[in-house]
């Protein structure tokens, strides 16, 4: 089996037009769901009556169903819903808006859980210290609690973002012209599926890798106040320097130590 490389280059050239679409879906979903996720997390933590139940229900609804089902439901429900409200114009709406809706709704659920656990990692003494220097609870929250929670949430936000990037490839179901959709169309014309999908694979890999780098830089920058984060959990994200720690095995010493211990 040989790969049709000319075709791959061609697909790469056309599919690149889908990159901004994919990025747009990811960014819109992230930017909307981040603040709402914080808000929902607070509703759960402070057990706001009524709302707490709604948030809980919403989160389990989203987390308990496959994203493909969510996509299908939104994609079949919204257009006819809109049709009732604004008439025929509903069907000429750019389907990317449906993608925004699905992936935002989905991320909100994930991020609510992320922020809920992150906010709970911040010691309640931080709030009390704020109150004792005269801050209002609100001020202590914004200046002391939230920044710390955001930083401890970063690895999980990164994780959620990677899932979002990958899940966004399902947008083709809603006939959004993202990377996957374009490559699929190209492939269908020429029956070179493997080549097309390899290109898709590489594009997602690059995007995810880029996101990972950004999050690692953010983590590094914002964790400067955490001594341990700098020293021990410093993940080496650069694959071009895959260095194994040199293991100096002093067999003879180890041997003599063993015998020493045996004597004791």
């Amino acid at each position: 089996m040989s790969l049709n490389t000319d075709f791959m280059v061609k697909v790469a050239q056309t599919a690149i037009q889908g990159v901004p679409v994919t990025l747009q879906i990811v960014l819109v979903a992230l930017l909307i769901s981040l603040p709402i996720g914080v808000l929902f997390a607070l509703i759960r933590i402070y057990r706001i009556k009524g709302l707490e139940l709604i948030v809980k229900f919403y989160v389990s609804l989203v987390r308990g169903t496959p994203i493909i089902a969510q996509i299908l439901i939104v994609y079949s429900a919204f257009p006819s819903l809109l049709n009732m409200m604004i008439g025929k114009a509903a069907f000429s709406i750019n389907p990317i808006y449906y993608a925004y809706i699905v992936f935002t709704l989905n991320s909100i659920a994930t991020l609510t859980e992320v922020f809920r656990s992150a906010l709970q990692t911040v010691d309640k003494g931080q709030m009390e210290a704020g109150l004792m220097v005269g801050m209002q609870p609100r001020q202590a929250f914004w200046r002391i609690i939230l920044p710390q929670a955001l930083i401890s949430a970063l690895p999980n936000i990164a994780n959620a973002t990677l899932y979002l990037i990958k899940n966004s490839s399902l947008a083709f179901i809603m006939s959004v012209k993202d990377i996957t959709a374009i490559a699929k169309t190209e492939a269908a014309f020429n029956y070179n599926f493997l080549e097309a999908y390899l290109v898709v694979w590489v594009y997602y890999l690059i995007i995810c890798y880029g996101a990972e780098i950004i999050f690692n830089l953010l983590e590094r920058y914002f964790s400067k106040y955490r001594r341990s984060a700098k020293r021990t959990t410093g993940f080496n994200w650069n694959p071009f320097s895959i260095k194994q720690p040199k293991l100096v095995v002093k067999t003879d010493l180890a041997e003599s130590e063993r015998t020493n211990n045996a004597h004791n």
């Binding site: 003494g125 210290a129 004792m132 220097v133 200046r143 002391i144 106040y225």
Partner: protein
């Protein structure tokens, strides 16, 4: 200056503070001692409104009310006139030593940033840590963190500073540096209420010792009197036990 009468507080039906009355005068250095679980922390937390009291009266900083009737404004007034030094420091982890001190000044007191930094540097100087101003809490030893905690409290120039076992979380070799700072504060006339297990501090630095047990004040008075000739059997027993262990 600060008067508490009949302060009561319970958790889930357990009465922890069973009617505590305390008078704090300007310049007082009061040590509160007593077995663990006797309600010392709860006492400081209810006075400073970190915890809501169930009953009692407070007269302080223009507020003269029953605890249950305190409104948001009274609570703000009380909080703005007290300082609190926590057992586990509770420095803002995301702020440097200097920022830990300027936060309250800038955010709550509306002091200009440059002015706040000047005050904060002075405070750090007083606890001997001006060279650590840009360090984050995680980069400081326990003793240094607690000294920043003290600097944070004094920078706000409160009427009274409450200390809840400020040296209990420290390694033994770091206790001295914190006690030294507290002693300097006491000598400079700062009004302090200190819950402590450091009997040397209670005896040598404070001008009054309160012995608490089971949510009551069992006995209070001049340190010399309490340590050398306590009137209550419980006090005597507590002191014998704790001094036997040093």
């Amino acid at each position: 200056m600060l008067t508490i009468e009949g302060l009561k507080k319970g958790y889930e039906g357990n009465e922890i503070l069973k009617g505590i009355s305390i008078d704090v005068n300007k310049g007082d250095v009061i040590s509160i001692i007593g077995p663990s679980g006797s309600g010392k922390t709860t006492l400081l937390r209810t006075i400073t409104t970190l915890e809501a009291a169930d009953g009692g009266h407070i007269t302080f900083a223009g507020v003269d009310k029953d605890f249950e009737k305190l409104n948001g404004k009274d609570i703000n007034t009380i909080r703005r006139n007290v300082g609190f030094v926590f057992q586990n420091y509770n420095l803002f982890n995301n702020k440097t030593a200097l920022q830990n001190i300027t936060e309250g000044l800038i955010v709550a007191r509306k002091v200009k940033k440059s002015e706040a930094e000047k005050i904060a540097l002075d405070a750090l100087e007083r606890v001997g840590l001006s060279d650590r101003k840009n360090h984050y809490p995680s980069q400081l030893s326990g003793g240094q963190q607690q000294r920043v905690g003290i600097a944070r409290a004094i920078a706000l120039n409160p009427e009274v500073i409450f200390f809840d076992e400020p040296t209990s979380a420290l390694d033994p070799e770091l206790v001295g540096e914190v006690l030294k700072v507290m002693q300097d504060l006491a000598n400079s006339g700062t009004t302090m209420v200190v819950v402590t297990h450091q009997m040397s501090f209670a005896r040598d630095v404070s001008n009054r010792v309160i012995f608490m047990a089971d949510g009551h004040i069992v006995e209070q008075g001049d340190p010399k009197k309490i340590f050398e000739n306590p009137s209550e059997e419980r006090t005597k027993k507590f002191l014998t036990d704790i001094l036997a262990n040093v």
